[in-house]
């Protein structure tokens, strides 16, 4: 199917989102809540584009809009620029402590606003929730609603589902999730984990529940193998070399 994005004609498979099609064609659309691993969420609305079908023009979120017919897309218009600038303004106001938002706030020359909570860095992109879901733990989710909405464990308590993998913190674009690693322990989401030590290099690398979870999920037997990702890579490389 043929679509036109910013005047460029592109051949697209039906069902692909505008964002995917644009990125494949090398057209950049800014996003904050999108990850290829999780697909479009339609949360941050930075990726809004203008779609023209027939005589009808409307704004859609390119990360969730599936291409099912011939459309004309504009990704950079003054109206879209204003939408994006306002979204950055709003997110900077919410999370003034985030370096990413500080930078974008400057880059987009936003209207002057005062941050609500100077300590806040979370922009509620929910990538952490998606990561946790993907890992299969489902320990965190959004809680409450309206302007109070935030990400947390149920009742803000230590969650039995959390395996301390810190995939949430690794995915977070603003460093808003607190992970403390000290004295061989990792603290995350009100929970403390004893960390595993790499038998080769001696470095701390993960938690016991993570190893159990991965073993179970992948149906692998790593029972007597306790290596950090780095040393495991080296070991594997050596094994491959030996097979040759």
């Amino acid at each position: 199917m043929k679509v036109t994005i910013d005047g460029i004609e592109i051949e697209v498979e039906t069902g692909k989102t505008i964002l995917e099609a644009a990125r494949e064609a090398g057209i950049d659309i800014p996003t904050l809540c999108y990850s290829e691993a999780f697909g479009g969420q339609g949360v941050c609305r930075m990726c809004m584009v203008e779609v023209k079908t027939g005589n009808r023009k409307r704004f859609v979120a390119s990360c969730t809009y599936p291409i099912t017919g011939e459309i004309e897309v504009q990704t950079k218009t003054p109206e879209l620029e204003e939408i994006r600038r306002n979204i950055i303004t709003l997110l900077y106001r919410r999370a003034p402590n985030s370096d990413l938002m500080k930078k974008l706030y400057q880059d987009y020359s936003c209207s002057e606003v005062k941050g609500v909570d100077p300590e806040e860095s979370c922009i509620m992109c929910r990538l952490c929730v998606k990561a946790c879901e993907k890992v299969g733990a489902n320990a965190i989710s959004t809680v409450l609603r309206g302007t109070e909405k935030r990400v947390s464990t149920p009742f803000d308590e230590e969650s039995p589902e959390c395996i301390g993998c810190s995939a949430c913190a690794d995915t977070c674009p603003t460093g808003a999730i607190r992970v403390v690693e000290e004295g061989g322990r990792r603290e995350i989401w009100h929970k403390s984990f004893e960390m595993l030590r790499c038998e080769k290099c001696g470095g701390y690398y993960s938690t016991l529940p993570v190893r159990e979870h991965v073993t179970e999920q992948l149906e692998l037997d790593y029972a007597d193998d306790s290596l950090c990702p780095n040393c495991r890579r080296k070991k594997l490389a050596k094994e491959v070399a030996e097979v040759r």
Partner: protein, 604 residues
Amino acid sequence: MTQTQVNNPDKRMILVCCGTGCLANGSGPVYEAFCHALEGNDQFEVETFAKATGCNGLCEKGPLVKILPDDITYCHVKEEDVSEIVEQTLLKGELVNRLLYRDPATKQYYRSHHDTNFYKKQHKVALRNIGEIDPTAVQDYLDRDGYRALKKAVKTMTPGEVVEEVLKAGLRGRGGGGFPTGLKWKACASTDDPQRYVICNGDEGDPGAFMDRSILEGDPHTVIEGMIICAYAIGASAGYIYVRDEYDLAVKNLICAIEKAKKCGYLGKNILESDLSFDIEIVRGGGAFVCGEETALINSIQGNVGEPWDKYVFPTEKGLWGHPTVINNVETWANVPVIVNFGAEKFASIGTEGSKGTKVFSLVGKVVNTGLVEVPMGTTLREIIFDIGGGIQNGRKFKAVQTGGPSGGCIPENLLDLPVDFDNLSQAGSMMGSGGLIVMDDRTCMVEVARYYVNFLASESCGKCVPCREGISLLLEILTRICEGKGTMEDLDLLESMSSTIQQAALCALGRTAPNPVLSTLKYFRDEYLEHINNHRCPSGVCKDLTEFYIDPELCTGCGRCRRNCPADAITGEKKKTHVIEISKCIKCGECINNCKFQAVKVK
């Protein structure tokens, strides 16, 4: 399209309104008292029954009691009035004058509610049975053409013909969006997926709106019949009624109605000996306003958080559990049996070019006759508020009417002659919404009104997308600032720019319409914003930080009403002499200005 009146001269019926409004005013004991007085009483010439009905609409005058076939309506009936009604009216055939409806303007008494202005201009289609039948008695519904439309559809029409009929009628969704109902059905019926669902959206959450509640409470079978007809038309096997958990009586009456419909063979397997098998389940909402949005509602039924998703693929294609789904609002369903029964043409003969049929409004706020009204589309706001509603309370001046719930807009006096339909309201910067009409008088500050609604939306936004969650929070911050006299002209620019971003970029309709209260008040009442910002003055005397009251010595008669009503003892003055407000004591509650009969209390 009027129905056959239950007008049997051999029987006399006492209809006691037991809608939630009247129940709250004590109609339960009134009904009990009638039952008690009639039981075993052999003095009557004809058989006499008492019946508990749904809401009659004129909640302001409740509890209401109607006597048929005499066509007498009594207002504000108390338990202790029952014996008098039995003695005077039922036995002697005389009226109890003091209980009759009295027109607030002409002071004239009316024997029947039908003759009052409140009812005369109404045209009941969706509400046709409410107040006339006992909602728990399926026979009452059957006596008024109930399930006749279903029989007609199943026995004499093909599913495609039913869809066509609804399409031809021009029925548009009554829940807010105004999408053509027939198109929805057609889209759903034309999908390849054989598993299809029908949902009734009864998550009425607008403050001051109670049309859906009244229909579910007072005539649950009409909603059920509408849904079964749709199930036949689109080939669905399961239906859900999503109803607000707070609507206790509605849920009770629905459960009862579903059970009775099953017993009668209108629900279940092989309905009316056809191939149609259909069942309905009730799902009680969790109290989130956003679940009135159809995709959030579907998420909620599925046990997920009530958050909407981008509807680039409509629920008619991918809805509940990923299957094609038709969702219509309670009032929309109530219109369906009428269309099938009397034909699309008859239905389409009511209303305007783009909006056919009638619309139910809950008329609330500073209007004399608070209640539920149903009028043909195209009736003007003036007719609704002044003719039916009886005008503004306490002889004050009309200022604005807010239509369409919290994310609707405020319409000013110069648009009062606007014929109300979907398109006109949108053009005026407001919306039909589900049909809430909140009337405001000159004691209303429009900036504060915008702040009030934005505050409501701040806690009722689902919080999923940035423009709605963060945008509303910023709008609220700015509006609060303006109400406190700390606003700037730059604030107005930011309000407008943010509002437009929310309209363009928010995920669901709730978000996209959330700035309406701000934009419509900015459009029609900008001078009030400017007064707050530039002159630090709230012209309506509502925003406390910007208000100072004084008494005009020219107009004050020294009646003492303000002094007696002042809770802070801030007003002094001798009888028949000019009164004075002591500013240091004044708490700016506005009791003086509200109570003054001579407009002598002014805002500085």
